[in-house]
């Protein structure tokens, strides 16, 4: 284990109870991710990729094993602690964009800033990022007036507005055509290279996975 690791996972297990049936989603995952790394995770559906992301992102607690994210032991975090982790340490990008439909793009980003406690503070660095994302002229539109690629770039802007240590992108190009997929992947790569943003990306697409510094494959709840 290296001291530069922002994510340290050892023997991570996750069991879900569905009705009276217990389902093992993760069966002993070991993974270390360095600060500033762009890691791609590939694997078939049901391999446990999303569950791994949900645990790293503090959306659900681990059942067993050691998970440290940015020096926080996730196994010992309370619900409130995991909420703070999502607020300050991780940013999510989803396949379906998950923008709030009633708000403009600008307000979608502002909500994240507000929740992160950065509301009203000037952030020149973020303004620069908005320029890099190429969405400055689309901020006053609601999601239904934006293309899929634009929506995903807004979602990325929202995910990094509070400068999280880790950006978790779950199939970020899954709903996009080739051109928009490439644009989004270039944005993620640019954020990683320009800002040193740690990026973990789930994808089914080997070409997309190739944007990462490293690719890990999951199957049956394990990294192989």
């Amino acid at each position: 284990m290296s001291s530069g690791d922002i994510i340290e996972i050892q023997d991570l297990r996750k069991v879900y109870t569905v009705g009276k049936v217990e389902v093992s989603a993760l069966r002993g995952v070991d993974l270390n991710v360095k600060r500033g790394e762009f890691l791609s995770i590939i694997g078939p559906s049901g391999s446990g990729k999303s569950t791994l992301f949900h645990i790293i992102g503090g959306l659900t607690p681990p059942s067993q094993g050691k998970v440290r994210v940015d020096d926080q032991d996730l196994a010992s975090l309370t619900d409130a602690g995991r909420t703070n982790l999502r607020k300050r340490t991780v940013g999510f990008v989803f396949q379906k964009f998950n923008l709030l439909p009633n708000l403009t793009a600008r307000d979608n980003i502002a909500v994240a800033r507000y929740i992160g406690g950065n509301d009203g503070k000037s952030d020149p660095k973020f303004e620069e990022v908005l320029g890099l994302l190429g969405i400055s002229n689309r901020l006053d539109h609601k999601p239904n007036a934006l293309s899929g690629g634009e929506q995903q770039r807004i979602a990325i802007a929202r995910a990094i507005v509070n400068h999280p240590a880790i950006l978790l992108a779950d199939e970020p190009t899954g709903n996009l055509d080739t051109e928009n997929s490439k644009a989004v992947l270039e944005v993620l790569k640019g954020l990683n290279e320009t800002l040193g943003q740690t990026v973990l990306m789930i994808t089914h697409n080997p070409e997309a996975a190739a944007y990462g510094h490293r690719v890990v494959t999951m199957r049956d709840g394990k990294i192989i």
Partner: protein, 367 residues
């Protein structure tokens, strides 16, 4: 930012928001109209009693409740007796009879009335010319669409309208004293006697004298007492309890409307709640959004209800200007707002807690 989100949510579903305003507004209207009606009726009755011009009112010994005005248990022979008492300038006997609730007819003697009140303010026509003449005030004339010289049916018989007056003096309908006494089989009997004094400052002295002379055989009130007796009498008949029941219904309706509306909203926005949670939104943050939205619904519903109650007041004034008097009781606006916000807060609790407790992963997967 929370406010912006809530307003965006309300704008996103305008029909839901408007229906919620309407449904919250209806009990608000009921409460304000009922309170306005009770204030209006009481104040009107009080004004009319004062409009008699009397300084003291005398009733039968056992007539404690002023609203039970139908009992004619005073002898007409008391008029000259009271007029002989020190400081009493004039006395007027009145007999009263209910016609169509809440309206009553007063039987009066024109001579006594002029001496005590200084006379009626006629808009058209004049005093009674015949046994079955009637004088109505402008509100009753408007309500019944009648004019001087026309015939009107009251107490199961026709009366000729001899005059229309401005109103504010005794009942909306005045008939000759002797006629009403005859119809009520109460010859020489009176319901009230009003006394006009040489100086209103002597009211307490005269009341004391009269109580001594009559050995407490009659109920003697100053006009200030009459006002308080009106209130006491109405309260003793359970008006306050009735208002409390209506308020309770209002709270329950407000609670139910907000609860249902917010519960539907939470169901519709399950995914959005998941998004907010993924951004780090805490349970209190989610609860706060639901609560604020409920409060805005309550606020909007109250404003809507106030507007409706003002509309109801004018509608009543146009349709039944004589029967019902509704006042706008401004002090009740903040009270009813507080009641509505309390109902909205209660109504937001379950949906709010439900939303705050959503599992973020399940919420994000919600279609």
């Amino acid at each position: 930012m929370t406010g912006k989100m809530v307003l965006a949510n309300l704008k996103h579903k305008p029909m839901r928001s408007l229906l919620s305003f309407l449904l919250i507004g209806v009990p608000v209207t009921l409460i304000l109209t009922l309170v306005g009606l009770s204030h209006g009726m009481l104040n009107d009755a009080e004004r009319r009693a004062r409009g008699s011009g009397g300084d003291i009112m005398v009733r039968g010994g056992d007539s404690k409740a002023i609203l039970s005005g139908g009992t004619a248990n005073l002898s007409e022979g008391l008029i000259p007796f009271f007029e002989k008492q020190p400081h009493v300038k004039a006395a007027m006997g009145v007999i009263t009879h209910s016609v169509e609730l809440p309206l009553v007819v007063n039987g009066v003697d024109s001579g006594q009335f002029d001496r005590v009140s200084g006379g009626l303010h006629f808009i058209s026509g004049g005093w009674f010319q015949g046994e079955f003449d009637v004088i109505v005030d402008q509100y009753y004339a408007k309500q019944k669409k009648i004019h001087v010289g026309e015939s009107i049916k009251i107490l199961n018989r026709d009366w000729r309208v001899s005059g229309i007056v401005e109103g504010g003096q005794l009942a909306h309908i005045l008939v000759p004293l002797k006629t009403l006494q005859g119809l009520d089989s109460a010859t020489n009997r009176l319901s009230f006697i009003y006394l006009k004094l040489d100086d209103p400052a002597n009211t307490q002295i005269v009341m004391q004298q009269l109580n001594e002379v009559t050995k407490g055989g009659y109920t003697i009130w100053s006009m200030a007492d009459v006002a308080s007796q009106f209130r006491e009498s109405v309260n003793s008949q359970g008006l306050n309890e009735f208002i409390f029941v209506i308020i309770g219904i209002g709270v329950v309706i407000g609670f139910a409307v907000v609860c249902l509306s917010m519960y539907m909203a939470v169901l519709q926005r399950t995914r959005e709640i998941g998004i907010l949670k993924s951004l780090g939104g805490s349970k209190n943050f989610i609860l706060g959004i639901i609560w604020l939205e409920a409060l805005i619904l309550g606020l909007g519903g109250t404003a809507f209800g106030i507007l409706l109650s003002i509309g109801a007041k004018y509608a009543i004034e146009i349709l039944k200007p004589a029967s019902f008097q509704v006042e706008i009781v401004y002090i009740w606006w903040p009270i009813v707002l507080g009641i509505t916000l309390a109902g909205a807060t209660l109504g937001a609790l379950y949906p709010g807690i439900s939303a705050a407790s959503h599992d973020p992963i399940e919420a994000l997967a919600y279609e």
